[in-house]
């Protein structure tokens, strides 16, 4: 059986993590191809709806990453994201989603290698957890082949 290749979505801020991921590219660091980035201006833009939408559409894992505390391009967006994350976590827990499927972290524009490591460890974590199908089963449109 082929190894399970998780689908992971990364919501990253334009100023730090997106630039960090670009740096990983210009540094030619190799990492797993399972993560696809969706760029937004700031982690302060993160919305629980987006996490739900991703899981409902077959994501096995999610990364949310922005600027380090105190480094936010918009001063405080990452703090809002961090506060929201504590609420999202309990909400995810309540809805029965394993919160370890979401990596919530900071990657600066200078941390290309941290981004590569983050992707690899997240892919590995999700691989261990296996496919996430609960929500899709609930809405009856699983995109995962039965194993």
């Amino acid at each position: 059986m082929e190894p399970f290749e998780p689908k992971i979505i990364a919501f990253v801020c334009n100023w730090c993590t997106y630039a960090g991921a670009d740096l990983a590219g210009t540094s030619r660091l190799k990492y797993a191809s399972n993560v696809k980035i969706i760029r937004f201006p700031c982690t302060g833009r993160i919305d629980f709806m987006l996490l739900q939408k991703a899981f409902a559409n077959g994501a096995d894992g999610i990364i949310v990453s922005g600027c380090h505390p105190n480094d936010c391009h918009y001063t405080s967006g990452n703090y809002h994201a961090r506060r929201r994350w504590t609420i999202y976590k309990s909400l995810l827990d309540f809805t029965g989603i394993d919160t370890s499927r979401i990596a919530f972290t900071w990657v600066s524009a200078a941390e290309g290698s941290k981004w590569a490591d983050l992707v690899n460890t997240t892919v590995e974590t999700i691989r261990q957890l296996g496919p996430y199908t609960d929500m899709q089963e609930l809405i009856g449109q699983s995109t995962h082949e039965p194993q």
Binding site: K7, K53, A54, Y74
Partner: protein
């Protein structure tokens, strides 16, 4: 129906080595709404851009996805190309298949598949893009500088010399700030007044500068390029226009025993006074609190002696409204005063003084004409103990930060003292000597090695008086914490530099943020040191953090450069990727329920309120309104909006959801 063009770039071998670009284009061409999909070796090259332009015209495209390098690299390039072909620039998006795909993955089927999926994601996004025009905001080319110390003076002169109108607002009767109180300045020991007063005069005479002394900024609203500022000119009771500054009134006033603030209370002044001889404007002011006429209704001696009838007891505060494009905050600092150090006897023993008082004693224009004489009996002190870090770097005192200027000015004080009292012995208790700066360390070394200042590393625990003699008790940590007792004739405390009084109130008036110590916060600690989070408001000098003169001047010129840059255009052009509250045109309808959560999270004070009225003009409800001139497009408000009534151009809810869906779709 969308007609999207997809342009897949090989970037030479950079992308094509690991991604099958032809296959990506072929797959993309089958996506719904894609009218054309081609691949080419170098999309950013002239022929590459021409291909995009031709396709826009040929297929009458409604959107473009360039699948190439990072948008941080070439988004501008391709957006420009699109607009040259008649397609709105904001209908062009980039799929990053180089930095985030071809460069980080091995050549494989999955890598090509990922590139395709990235393209697919951006195709779904661009379908929901709106044509946008850059936001244009007119700029009023007047700058208001608040604070007339050296920073405010420098900023005013720089902006005025660039040809723009400056309104300088100073709270005290004269400009000059703390620098005008200083004796000599480190590390050159040149006289502070000698370098500052010509600048003060220049301010007064500059055709582009309007000086409002004895005035305060009372209210500010508006936004970058378009501030409305209300200034309150406090009544001087002296007509500034007619008064010649002859000074007769200040010598005849019968109320004499008022502590002189400029002299740090080391002498007294009258109720009608000029703060110091070099004051600008050199016009007296009546201290209403102490004036005999205002207290008893009788006196008016000054009015009687004034040869030109310039004194008007009926003068009232005047309010001035003006429009400005930019504001520079230069409100400076203050030092901690009495009752902060009961253990040092500050405020209790007259010969325990602070650094600014020592400056006045050492100043040629000071109360002792520059002779170092102690306040209690006017004797020349033979031993002075200087205590650095009096309050600074002391979390127990509530000031964990370093006041930065004290190491240097304490070294300077020891030198000034030795130069004036050759047989005097200066002791310095210090924690560390922080002398980073051009010629600074050399300066402190000179104080120790040439002028013989005796530095003791350790803190002072207590200062007390015994038989009329001050005793300073401390520890020498370089001798293992051995207790030290020094009999001193005078003690100078380098008390902590703190934010100026009223800084927090002013910050609230201007909607700029400030730290726990009421110093104003810069927009970015490294990259935006003179900007605040409020666009169009800049910081100069020690109102941001303790700073010495060179740093204050540098910051002031930096702030001035930002203002001049802002004023170099008649209109501000801003990226239109901003948030807005959804509402229909008149008659307006909005799902916004006016909870104003967005107001509290906006870092830019860009969100205000808007009243929705019915046909009779009755207010139906109050909704949020986002000022596009102030919004920076972070999107934090979008996420907190409970009724999803706010959306962000370029990163709308629908766009992000479409991207999620397209990214995962298999």
């Amino acid at each position: 129906m969308a007609r999207i063009g997809v342009f897949v770039c090989h970037c030479g071998e950079n992308i094509a080595a690991t991604v099958d670009c032809g296959k990506v284009a072929l797959q993309a061409s089958k996506l719904p709404g894609v009218a054309v999909a081609i691949d080419y070796k170098y999309m950013c090259s002239d022929p590459g851009q021409t291909k995009i332009k031709e396709a826009i015209k040929e297929h009458n495209l409604t959107g473009v996805v360039v699948s190439a390098c990072s948008p941080r690299m070439h988004e501008g390039t391709f957006r420009k190309a699109c607009s040259e072909a008649g397609l709105n620039a904001y209908l062009c998006e980039m799929a990053n298949i180089r930095e985030q795909c071809s460069w980080v993955h091995e050549k494989s089927e999955q890598t090509t598949q990922k590139a395709y999926e990235l393209v697919r994601t951006l195709v779904e996004k661009v379908k929901l893009n709106h044509p946008l025009d850059p936001i244009k905001v007119p700029v009023n080319k007047t700058a208001v500088v608040i604070g007339g110390g050296v920073a405010g003076i420098q900023a005013s002169l720089d902006i005025a010399n660039a040809g723009h109108h400056v309104v300088l607002v100073e709270r005290e009767p004269s400009i000059g700030g703390h620098m005008s109180q200083l004796s000599e300045t480190f590390p050159t020991l040149d006289c502070s007044q000698c370098i500052l007063t010509p600048r003060m005069v220049e301010v007064a005479q500059h055709p582009n500068i309007t000086l409002y002394s004895y005035s305060e900024v009372e209210a500010v609203d508006g936004f970058i390029g378009n501030f409305n500022v209300t200034i309150r000119r406090k009544a001087r009771y002296v007509d500034e226009k007619t008064c010649t500054g002859c000074g007769t009134c200040t010598t005849k006033c019968p109320t004499k025993d008022i502590p002189n603030e400029f002299e740090q209370n080391l002498t007294t002044r009258r109720a009608i006074y000029v703060p110091f001889p070099q004051a600008v404007p050199n016009k007296p002011v009546i201290d209403r609190e102490h004036c005999r006429y205002f207290n008893t209704g009788k006196c008016k001696v000054c009015q009687a002696v004034c040869p030109i009838d310039a004194i008007h007891f009926d003068q009232e505060d005047e309010r001035i409204q003006l429009n400005a494009g930019a504001i520079v905050l230069a409100t400076g600092f203050d030092i901690k005063r009495t009752d902060f150090f009961p253990e040092y006897g500050y405020g209790k023993y007259p010969d325990v003084i602070d650094g600014l008082q020592f400056e006045r004693l050492a100043s040629a224009s000071g109360p002792t004409q520059g002779e170092i004489r102690r306040p209690s009996d006017g004797q020349i002190p033979k031993t002075i103990v200087f205590v650095a870090c009096s309050g600074s770097r002391d979390a127990a005192k509530g000031i964990p930060y370093c006041s930065k200027i004290c190491c240097m000015y304490t070294a300077k004080h020891t030198m000034l003292y030795k130069h004036k009292v050759h047989d005097g012995i200066p002791y310095v208790f210090y924690m560390d000597i922080r002398a980073a700066g051009k010629n600074y360390d050399e300066f402190t070394r000179r104080a120790i090695e040439e002028d013989g200042a005796r530095y003791i590393r350790g803190r002072v625990s207590t200062i007390f008086e015994e038989k009329g003699q001050l005793i300073v008790r401390g520890a020498d940590t370089l001798l293992g914490g051995r207790p030290v007792e020094i009999k001193a004739d005078m003690v100078v405390l380098a008390t902590a530099a703190i934010a100026n009084t009223g800084a927090a109130t002013l910050a609230q008036t201007l909607h700029v943020s400030y730290d726990a110590y009421h110093f104003f916060s810069e927009a970015h600690p490294k990259l935006k040191p003179v900007e605040t989070n409020t666009a169009g408001i800049f910081l100069a000098g020690a109102c941001q953090a303790p700073k010495d003169i060179p740093e204050s001047v540098a910051a002031a010129s930096g702030a001035a450069a930002k203002v001049i840059g802002l004023f170099s255009n008649n209109e501000l052009t801003r990226d239109p990727l901003v948030a807005s509250v959804k509402r229909t045109p008149a008659p307006p309808f909005s799902t916004c329920m006016g909870c104003m959560m967005c107001v509290s999270v906006c870092p830019y004070q860009a969100i205000g309120q808007e009243e929705i009225r019915d046909r009779q003009g009755k207010v139906i409800k109050v909704i949020a309104y986002i000022n596009p001139g102030l919004c920076q497009g972070c999107g934090t408000c979008v996420s907190v909006c409970k009724s999803k009534s706010i959306d962000l151009e370029g990163y709308s809810n629908l766009q992000l959801l479409a991207e999620v869906e397209a990214s995962l779709h298999s």
